[in-house]
Amino acid sequence: MSGLRLVNIVKKYGKLAAVDNLSLEVKEGELLTLLGPSGCGKTTVLRSISGFVAVDNGDVFIGNRRVTDVPPEKRGIGLVFQNYALWPHMTVFQNLAFGLELKKMPKEKIKGKVEESLAMVKLEGHEDRYPRQLSGGQQQRVALARALVLEPDILLLDEPLSNLDALLREQMRFEIAQIHKQFGITTVYVTHDQTEAMVISDRIAVLDKGRMMQLGKPVDIYSRPANKFVAGFMGTTNFIHGNVSDFYDDYMVVTTKSGLSLYGKGSGLEKGQEVDVAIRPENIDFMSASQTSSGKKSLNVFDAKVVRASYVGELIDYQLEIKDSLIRAKGDVKRRLTEGETVKIHLDPDQLSVLRG
């Protein structure tokens, strides 16, 4: 087993750079997700790891082996595609056995290996079925088994769950995570679905326009976005525009045009700089009118007017106005606020990210 290293890889299509000088290290046994909107270059990165895309510049290492010029069949990778890519003229057994036969493995051993792999994806007894006789979920399991049966150094998954319905997708997420945990195979997972990425990954690399926007653990990516793109991509976020006016303890003070002062976390920013403060709707606490607070809790307490309240079932989606700024908030259904009402809110300064504007 080995890790994976990409060093300054560049891939251009015409003048457009699909991957722009990207470096990335996937540790041994790690599951790393390449996350980004369509066209961000994540699939091109994956295809340059698998060898189906020849990079214009840079190097790909699997373990200590430089594979930049090695054809795909000699890289020791396992691939799972969005559309499963099972061979329709072969049975499940033949699909799994194909790679083993190419390795000239004896027949008995192949049989054992195939059975073992099918058991792993809970498809025992489906050896003689043709792919078209299986459901989408089962086909994807076969595809996974086919990739794993060869015990590759690196497993690459290209949006493997996008063709499945929502319920099955959720279930398969856990199964993939489970299989990964069980075998500890170094895995690169490509998706545009941030929830999927959060659930499944050890680390996430957020890409945009062929560049790395942020690399880190799911919780860090979500709560400590490095920039506006990551903050916006990882879920609903309110942005309030302002300038850094002061520093206080660990916090930065951001003042908006309308005179609102917000305390939040940020780094590498100077006084006077234009910034955006990112606030997640779930991090807005509604306080009771009598409630008083002290210390840290007294920072970021504002009076807000409820502009709109939409009952969504599990929660209430509010639109609030603080001075001139409109923000969205998630409220508890047990305490329902009506439109026009004024309410005291608290924004936890630790959960506010101050980002370069």
Partner: protein, 275 residues
């Protein structure tokens, strides 16, 4: 059980009979002509029937009737030419169709269009000019020359159908094979080729039938030395309707056989598994 109303059943029967008339009517006329030994106006059916003309055409019986020739040599020559044409055409069409489907080839669409060219213009002027060139090259009146002409006409089916077939096979299937250790050659022969087989066969059959029925090019380039079945049919049709009918029926047989075969192949499990 749901039962169909009587008028729908009646309508279906009428439609079926009409369909048979339209499709089989002309063929019936051919069949009747081929066994008509004596058929004079105004009789609506032949006065005398028999297999005299079939026997003569198949070389089982000599005859001095005008236009009476044994079609056996012509039949074998036609089949021989068609087989050579299929082999050469497919050797060109499979790589060309595959390359045009898989790779981004500059002017790919234009190259595909070029194959259509010989069929996109009136054929007589093209083949008259071809005759001049072939005469200079010593190809006029030779089997080789006729083979070349047939390839020219048939290649459009070869390349277009193989191209469409390869395009219909998702490229990921080959990539998946590469990822489990198959070289690109192995991936092609183990994955793409078997999946493409029905389409490739269909394309070969089209080329075969095109060659078997080719007339204009053979007329200009081949005659009077290369006598294929359509040439024999042409010369017989002027003098002897019975001979012409026999030849026409013989020409129909491979087409019907192959069409049935293609239909069987396309119905097979491959199509369902493509998606």
């Amino acid at each position: 059980m749901f039962r169909k109303p009587v008028f729908i059943i009646t309508a279906e029967i009428v439609l079926l009979v009409l369909l048979f008339l339209v499709i089989l009517g002309p063929m019936m006329s051919l069949l009747i002509w081929s066994i008509a030994e004596r058929w004079y106006w105004p009789a609506s059916l032949p006065q005398e029937v028999g297999f005299e003309y079939w026997k003569q055409a198949l070389g089982l019986q000599k005859s001095l009737a005008i236009g009476a020739v044994s079609i056996v040599p012509a039949f074998f020559l036609s089949i021989f030419i068609a087989i050579v044409v299929v082999i050469i055409s497919m050797l060109i069409a499979i790589p060309a169709g595959y390359a045009l489907a898989k790779y981004r080839i500059p002017f790919g669409a234009f190259i595909l269009f070029l194959f259509l060219m010989p069929n996109a213009f009136p054929q007589q002027p093209i083949f008259v000019n071809l005759l001049h060139i072939f005469t200079r090259w010593g190809l006029a009146g030779t089997v080789g020359g006729v083979v070349l002409v047939h390839i020219l006409v048939g290649l459009v089916f070869g390349v277009w159908i193989t191209n469409a077939t390869f395009k219909s096979i998702p490229p990921h299937l080959e990539e998946a094979a590469r990822s489990v250790g198959a070289s690109s050659t192995k991936a092609f022969f183990k994955i793409t080729f078997p999946l493409a087989a029905p389409g490739l066969l269909a394309s070969a059959v089209f080329v075969f039938i095109t060659s078997l029925d080719e007339f204009t090019g053979t007329f200009f380039v081949g005659l009077p030395f290369v006598n294929t079945l359509p040439m024999t049919l042409y010369s017989a049709s002027g003098y002897n309707m019975q001979f012409a009918s026999v030849i026409a029926i013989i020409l129909l047989i491979p087409s019907i056989l192959f069409m049935t075969l293609i239909q069987k192949m396309l119905k097979a499990e491959y199509v369902g598994g493509m998606g």
